[in-house]
């Protein structure tokens, strides 16, 4: 099985372990990831906030390159890239004036932006192949975790069309597939502060501590995410979070692909587990043992 792959900037830097775990899991599942050649940044939040034209042109260029490389689908693990690629595609498909403008910025002939590849997030992608994953599980992930989706995977629902907007369940299903248990909690889609990590760290501390607080109270052993911004805010900014907590917490934050990788028996190194700021130490199997009669 072959699918286009757009890692995006975060996955080559601050969230290298997300890239490493996606690639390792793909290899284990015998999926061929074809990286979009010479890809550029999607523009992320800063582009749509202060430069609307570039916020559509940058993702359009990525999708155009993928299309020219013959890729019908592009897997985008980063939730921000996923959102920008989808939004860019949506704007081009629904607004002819925008499309013409972007064609001029890209310097490509009219019609080049027709039938751009389909954009998939990593949960969506893995949910298509549950049997393949289940067949390769070697050591069940027997832990109770909180699946945290954040903003951009599910919103705006008109564009993403992924899962239930206020109470998504697709990631929970994946965790259950590899033997884990997920908690029911209130902060699945609350914002962590996203791109304010550097320019307004206090906002990130306030918002992310609420998320950690709820997960802690409900006895999650780890938080599972699928977004580099959510991950770095909950992991790298833990000191800022703990200052606002009733009791400091050392709950680790894992990417969904790391959870699946562990169940597939992949090594900590190949999953990049050592790159986290909050050490990934999960208690020994905590699911209630089966009652032996």
């Amino acid at each position: 099985m072959r699918v286009g792959y757009y890692p995006g900037c975060s996955l080559t830097g601050t969230s290298r372990e997300f890239d490493e775990s996606v690639r390792s899991v793909a290899r284990a599942l015998e999926i061929d990831l074809a990286e979009v050649p010479e890809w550029n940044c999607c523009g992320s939040s800063p582009a749509h906030m202060i430069d609307t034209t570039m916020s559509i042109a940058l993702p359009a260029n990525v999708l155009l390159k993928a299309k020219r490389a013959g890729l019908a689908e592009v897997l985008t693990p980063c939730a921000a890239c996923y959102s920008r690629l989808l939004m860019g595609k949506h704007e081009i498909e629904t607004k002819p004036a925008t499309r013409a403008q972007v064609e001029r910025v890209l310097g490509c002939p009219p019609g080049s932006l027709d039938e751009l590849p389909k954009v998939l997030n990593v949960i969506e992608f893995l949910a298509q192949i549950p049997e393949t994953i289940a067949a390769k599980v070697t050591s069940k992930f027997e832990h109770t975790v909180a699946c945290y989706y954040g903003c951009l995977l599910v919103r705006p629902p008109k564009v993403t069309r992924f899962d239930r907007t206020e109470d998504p369940v697709e990631m929970d299903k994946l965790v259950a597939l590899v033997g884990g248990k997920t908690i029911d909690w209130s902060f699945k889609t609350e914002c962590c502060g996203a791109s304010f990590s550097i320019s307004r760290t206090s906002v990130v501390g306030r918002l992310s501590s609420k998320i950690m607080q709820d997960a802690t109270r409900r006895h999650a052993e780890a938080i599972v995410v699928s977004c580099p911004m959510c991950h770095s805010n909950l992991d790298l900014r833990r000191r800022e979070i703990n200052r606002r907590m009733e009791k400091p917490t050392l709950i680790p934050v894992l990417f969904i692909t790391q959870v699946i990788g562990l169940a597939l028996g992949l090594s900590e190194k190949r999953l990049g587990l050592k790159r986290h700021f909050v050490p990934v130490k999960l208690p020994a199997k905590t699911l209630p043992a089966q009652v032996v009669s």
Binding site: C9, S15, E38, N40, C41, R104, C151, A194, I198
Partner: protein, 245 residues
């Protein structure tokens, strides 16, 4: 009106004037009730005549922000009936000086004073872009899109709130990094941000472990997209210049 701090009225002097009740304003926030803007700009009492005159202030004389939002972003602020759902769910509302729903209210009047208040607000910069408001809006008013347009208009008119300087600097440093490298070069981008803001010592504690964990590279990694992206930025800038008289 048992709790004057939580429910505010637009004005309280004229018994015959329309009494418009605003939504709850949380105690202890720096946000003022929306009535404050009206009484400040239109006098203490807002009579129906005054309200109408401010509402229909020479629409032909200038291009209002509301009209611009409709034209550029397909956002119709008139769709908003001030239910306050956006403000209730906004993760940043606590820190905002003008609540998200109040931003829409200010634009609905099409009064230059109110528009100025919106463009100079901190709120447009504190909006994270989480899309919760538009997801829950019963009228599907695309407030995040409106915020994008307001931010850009605020920069174009050079009226952006100075307290947002560091946020603006971050966005600019980020885009500058893309323009130069094709991708975001985090180390260079953060250096650029520090120079723009003077926050030279921020996060220095985290830097060594970032390097040790292999999360930050000292060299850009733009690949072959570097020059191509630079050209895209140049073409976009030229097109923008052409469209302006």
């Amino acid at each position: 009106m048992g709790q004057p701090d939580t429910v505010t009225q637009m004005h309280d002097t004229a018994p015959d004037a329309p009494r418009v009740r605003c939504f709850a304003v949380k105690k202890g926030t720096n946000r003022r009730p929306i009535g404050a803007y009206f009484s400040q700009s239109e006098g203490r009492t807002l009579t129906p005549e005054k309200y109408m005159s401010c509402h229909h202030e020479s629409p032909s004389a200038r291009h209002s922000l509301a009209a611009r939002l409709k034209e550029v972003g397909e956002v119709d602020v008139a769709d908003c009936y001030q239910c306050g759902k956006c403000t209730a769910g906004c993760p940043a509302a606590e820190e905002m000086d003008v609540a998200p729903s109040q931003i829409l209210r200010l634009l609905q009047t099409e009064s230059p004073k109110h528009e100025k208040r919106a463009l100079e607000s901190m709120s447009i910069w504190l909006c994270i872009g989480c899309e919760t408001c538009v997801t829950r809006c019963p009228q599907e008013v695309d407030l995040p899109r409106a915020m994008d347009i307001l931010r850009q208009e605020s920069l174009a008119r050079n009226v952006a709130n100075r307290a947002a300087d560091d946020i603006v600097a971050f966005h600019k440093a980020f885009l500058h990094s893309i323009e130069r490298s094709g991708r975001v070069f985090e180390f260079g981008m953060i250096g650029d941000y520090k120079l723009r803001t003077g926050h030279l010592f921020q996060d220095l504690g985290a830097a060594p472990s970032m390097f040790l964990k292999g999360k930050m590279s000292l060299l850009p990694h733009g690949g072959g997209s570097k020059r191509e992206v630079g050209r895209m930025f140049a073409r976009a800038r030229a097109a923008k210049k052409e469209s302006q008289p």
